[in-house]
């Protein structure tokens, strides 16, 4: 079991950050109130050469040291160098994660890179720089660059550096790149890591991790072909036609930790205003593919649902605008979050009721809260945003759209990654829970593959997604069932309020639970976060025996033998239920006993020992028993064994479903016969 004490320092640093006067009272020259520390600020001027697929960039970075230690280095992420060649750590990890992003199908022009030509102090000398590989020592990795400063930046001090660079836009890797004249450009410029304690938190780019940065103000000029429709983090504050077939778009946004943009001549721009009592209005800008225009309302509705419910549950969305991007077909850029902008992902045909694009839209809109506003370290604790957001997505979807119907997509051209083009919705088959059955299955299959407390970047890239997204969402849903939403919601709202525009650590969340849950939950977090135990409770046996059974009993004349009576006519039964804990995980559970006369008894069991016997005497025989009848413990990896009937009734249902399978088999056999 890992110890939590190692993270306490983070809490202290975060507390220091919180009381920094710059956070709450700084007023920029423009008059806006700083919501964050704004200690990593960027001015970027970039020009896209669409023929060569190159970005030519000049940027000024103003970094303020908000920590208590000095540093004489600046560490930058150069994310796009992950796709510079096959020797990068990202490409190495991508090969063994089992879900290759691109596989071997990479042409010469598909690779990407970020080549920094110059790093100098503003108006000063060129800085020495080197590449670093702090995570795995991979000398071929170029995703982290260290620039040495001539003098240390003291606490509260500031440094201004200027960089020039060229970046080759890749054919999409990790949701960034081009397809035709569609561009989605994320994590594209030299970007500072986060100075924490006395060192830089600037990890190499890994195949299964995301990002971590300080908050700041971004002022970005994008020079692009003039017919391109542009979407970006922030608001467009200026557009200038250059008279040479290009236009320069200037976007500006404060209190964000990344800047992302997209451009395509095909986008259709739609706008709608989100207005709900008690929440600030938000201008929603939807950049839609023309062929998806009929689904515009669905995108707006899903975005509004997220803004409203996350806003009410956790805290208001503060930016006043959001750009919703419907990515181009096959671009691989869908389903991703960036500050004040996110990508959805729909298809030409997507029947309503199947959960898509609503689910992905709600999820990515929700990341504006968990990731955008609460900016956790995704290199080390990706679950803090992905898990909290997946849980919240499930709640929004459940509350707004109800149970999703099951959809299968047909016409998957062989040998392609196209997915099925033609969906069929099976309206009778529905997924009723906040946590979907497929998510439960993913967790079940990866319940013990990684420990969530282990740093995300060290986790197995093929399984960590199931831990970050599924396991976290499932234990949060379990806590909701255990504590009640009326307890959990204020906890999450407090965590949000306390850590908005900050960098919370796992302990910070647990501390809020400790404060507000009204009970010590360490026993729970020790199991679900610091360990990888599996939960599984079962009803092992259900029996009812007549109290007046045969045998020797004390009578008026001493021991008397009573022969076996008619058990059916007995007027009292001893009902016995054996409940077992099959997994290592422990959780208090209820056991429901339902009797033939319709009466019910609920008993609690602390779930600690390996088994327990529950008995009930009464006039009726047991019909069945269920451990955890309300499915509080969603972490249980086998729900089927949670219940048991005294007399099995499994013949008819098994024949029913086998008969349906048999019809499929008969048709399959006829298909085989068609080859004769």
């Amino acid at each position: 079991m890992l110890r939590r004490s190692g993270f306490r320092a983070g809490l202290l640093l975060a507390a220091i950050a919180l009381i920094d006067p710059a956070l709450s009272s700084a007023r920029e020259p423009g008059g806006d109130v700083a919501l964050s520390l704004r200690n990593a600020n960027y001015e970027i001027d970039v020009r896209l050469d669409p023929e060569a697929r190159l970005l030519h960039g000049r940027q000024t970075v103003v970094w303020r040291n908000v920590r208590e230690a000095a540093t004489d280095e600046l560490w930058f992420h150069l994310y796009w160098n992950a796709w510079r060649n096959r020797d990068s750590t990202w490409m190495r990890e991508d090969r063994y994660r089992g879900r290759s992003d691109r596989g071997d199908d990479v042409d010469r022009d598909d690779w990407g890179y970020l080549d920094v030509h110059s790093v100098r102090l503003a108006g000063g000398a060129e800085l020495e720089r080197r590449f670093a590989a702090p995570d795995d020592g991979n000398a071929a990795d170029r995703t982290v660059m260290v620039a040495s400063l001539p003098a240390a930046v003291e606490p509260g001090g500031e440094v201004r550096v200027e960089l020039e660079w060229t970046a080759k836009v890749p054919r999409t890797f990790a949701r960034t790149g081009f397809r035709g004249d569609y561009y989605f450009i994320a994590h594209w410029f030299p970007k500072l890591g986060v100075f924490e304690g006395d060192r830089w938190n600037c990890h190499q780019y890994h195949a299964a991790t995301e990002y971590f940065s300080d908050y700041g103000t971004y002022d970005v000029r994008l020079t692009l072909p003039e017919d391109f429709v542009v979407g970006a983090t922030g608001r467009e504050v200026e557009r200038r036609d250059n008279g040479d077939g290009t236009a320069t778009h200037r976007y500006r946004q404060a209190d964000v930790h990344a800047f992302t943009w997209t451009a395509s001549p095909e986008y259709v721009e739609l706008t709608r205003r989100f207005e709900v009592d008690g929440l600030p209005p938000v201008d929603m800008r939807l950049l839609m593919q023309p062929e998806h225009l009929s689904q515009a309302d669905r995108h707006f509705n899903a975005t509004s649902a997220a803004l409203e419910l996350y806003g009410k549950w956790y805290g208001a969305y503060p930016y006043g605008h959001v750009t919703v991007v419907d990515p181009a077909y096959g671009s691989g850029s869908g389903g991703m979050e960036y500050p004040t902008l996110f990508t959805c992902g729909t298809r030409l045909y997507n029947p309503f009721g199947g959960g898509r694009p609503e689910g992905v839209t709600v999820h990515e809109a929700g990341h504006q809260f968990w990731y955008g506003i609460v900016g956790n370290d995704e290199f080390n604790s990706a679950w803090l945003d992905e898990g909290l957001n997946t849980f919240s997505t499930g709640r929004v979807m459940h509350e707004t759209f109800g149970a999703n119907a099951w959809v299968k997509r047909y016409f998957r051209p062989p040998g392609t990654d196209s997915g099925g083009f033609l969906p069929v919705l099976f309206a009778e088959i529905r997924d009723p829970g906040v946590i979907s059955s497929s998510r439960l299955s993913r967790y079940r299959n990866h319940a013990t593959t990684d420990v969530p407390a282990h740093p995300t970047w060290r986790a197995h890239p093929g399984s960590i997604g199931n831990i970050s997204y599924s396991k976290t969402a499932i234990w949060l849903a379990t806590l909701e069932n255990y504590l009640g939403w009326e307890t959990l919601q204020p906890i999450m709202a407090s965590f949000f309020e306390r850590w908005k525009f900050g960098h919370p650590r796992p302990e910070d969340l647990f501390d809020v639970f400790d404060e507000l849950a009204g009970q010590d939950l360490d026993w729970f977090f020790d199991q679900v976060f610091y360990d990888d135990v599996r939960f599984d409770y079962e009803i092992q046996s259900v029996k009812s025996v007549a109290v007046e059974a045969e045998g020797w009993f004390e009578g008026d004349a001493g021991l008397e033998f009573r022969p076996a009576g008619d058990e059916e006519s007995s007027d009292e039964y001893r009902n016995e239920v054996v409940v077992r804990r099959l997994g290592e995980g422990r959780f208090p559970v209820e056991v429901l006993m339902v009797f033939e006369d319709g009466s019910e008894v609920r008993r609690r069991w602390d779930g600690q020992y390996r088994w327990t016997l529950l008995t009930e005497r009464g006039p009726s025989k047991l019909e069945y028993a269920i451990v955890d009848p309300d499915r509080v413990l969603l972490l249980d990896t086998n729900f089927t064994n949670n219940s048991r009937r005294r007399e099995s009734e499994n013949r008819l249902p098994s024949v029913k479903w086998a008969s349906k399978w048999m019809v499929w088999l008969q048709d399959l056999l006829a298909t085989f016969a068609s080859f004769v």
């Binding site: 099951w406 069929v424 269920i626 088999l665």
Partner: protein, 321 residues
């Protein structure tokens, strides 16, 4: 186009004269599927155990149970899918046939499919004989003629397997190439249009192989050809020399198949059967669809026989009792 229409009508008429063939083929299909269905039923029964899930499964498909069942199952039992409800069963198999993934199924299912294909090679011989003669079918005659043609039909099937292999490899290459060539196309509708055209070509090639296979068998039955290779070449020649007729017959029967599928979609049982009566009734409704599918197959064979007969009037007729 009157030729294929007439042949299709005559094909249906031939089938109507030997209706009991349909029953025999259906029973064969049913009996062949039963052992595996028992296996799956037992597997589901074990999974449910004495739990309350059984009750739920009578009302609906419990997706949580289904994922638990699938995660814990292996082999044939693990192939139970939600999409096998109603017309989804047919669509699943159509997808498997089109993509060639039918040969990537669980080995147990492939083995069953291969055995059934062998059985079908026996049955189809008997069926073709009676479809040609129109005589009242008897089991003895049915299996007699089936046995007579069995090995020749198997050899034809082996030859056609090579062609099918080539078509599926071509299909994979074609779609991979198209995916590469359309990798800068940002409009799904455009890509889908290209893929649909390619799919039409692949389906045409698959149907072409099927037609060659059918006419090779027709030639074996009608002309008592001994060589599977020569019969197959005869099939190739016949299809190429009568493209409208041969393809027209397939199209007409195909359209009839779409009509059957549509009608089935209106009455196809869902997931709500909760009594023995409704479970059996749902099963029987589905069997009607399978019988219709078999009837269409026999109609196609009858129509192909008719077309072949009319195009080759001197073809030798064999006698059958």
């Amino acid at each position: 186009m009157t030729g294929p229409i007439r042949s299709a009508i005559n094909g249906a008429a031939r089938l109507s004269r030997v209706r009991r063939l349909l029953v025999w083929l259906w029973i064969a299909n049913l009996l062949f599927a039963l052992p595996l269905a028992f296996q799956v039923s037992a597997s589901i029964e074990r999974s449910i155990g004495a739990s309350q899930v059984g009750r739920t499964l009578l009302e609906r498909l419990d997706l949580i149970w289904h994922t638990e069942y699938q995660d814990a199952s292996e082999g044939v039992s693990a192939t139970l899918e939600p999409s096998q409800v109603g017309v989804g069963a047919f669509l699943d198999n159509l997808e498997l046939w089109f993509s060639g993934e039918i040969f990537e199924l669980d080995p147990g299912l492939i083995a069953a499919g291969a055995l059934y294909a062998l059985l079908w090679a026996l049955l189809i011989g008997g069926a073709l004989g009676y479809l040609q003669s129109g005589a009242r079918p008897t089991l003895r005659g049915f299996f007699g003629s089936g046995g007579e043609f069995f090995f020749r039909f198997v050899r034809v099937t082996v030859l056609m397997a090579g062609l099918y292999y080539l078509v599926y490899r071509f299909s994979e290459w074609l779609f991979e190439s198209l995916e590469y060539r359309t990798r800068d196309v940002t409009v799904e509708k455009s890509v889908l249009s290209v893929y649909l055209l390619a799919a039409a070509l692949v389906v045409l090639l698959l149907v072409l192989v099927r037609m060659i296979s059918d006419y090779a068998k027709v030639a074996i039955v009608m002309e008592d050809r001994r060589s599977a290779l020569l019969a197959s070449l005869r099939g190739v020649r016949f299809v190429l020399s009568h493209p409208i007729g041969t393809l027209g017959v397939v199209l007409i029967v195909g359209v009839a198949g779409l009509v059957v599928l549509y009608l089935y979609s209106l009455v196809a049982p869902g997931v709500g059967q909760s009594t023995w009566t409704t479970v059996v009734l749902a099963f029987l409704v589905s069997q009607l669809f399978l019988i219709a599918r078999l009837a269409l197959r026999l109609t196609l064979l009858g129509a192909e026989l008719d077309l072949y007969e009319r195009a080759s009037p001197l073809a030798a007729n064999a006698d059958y009792d």
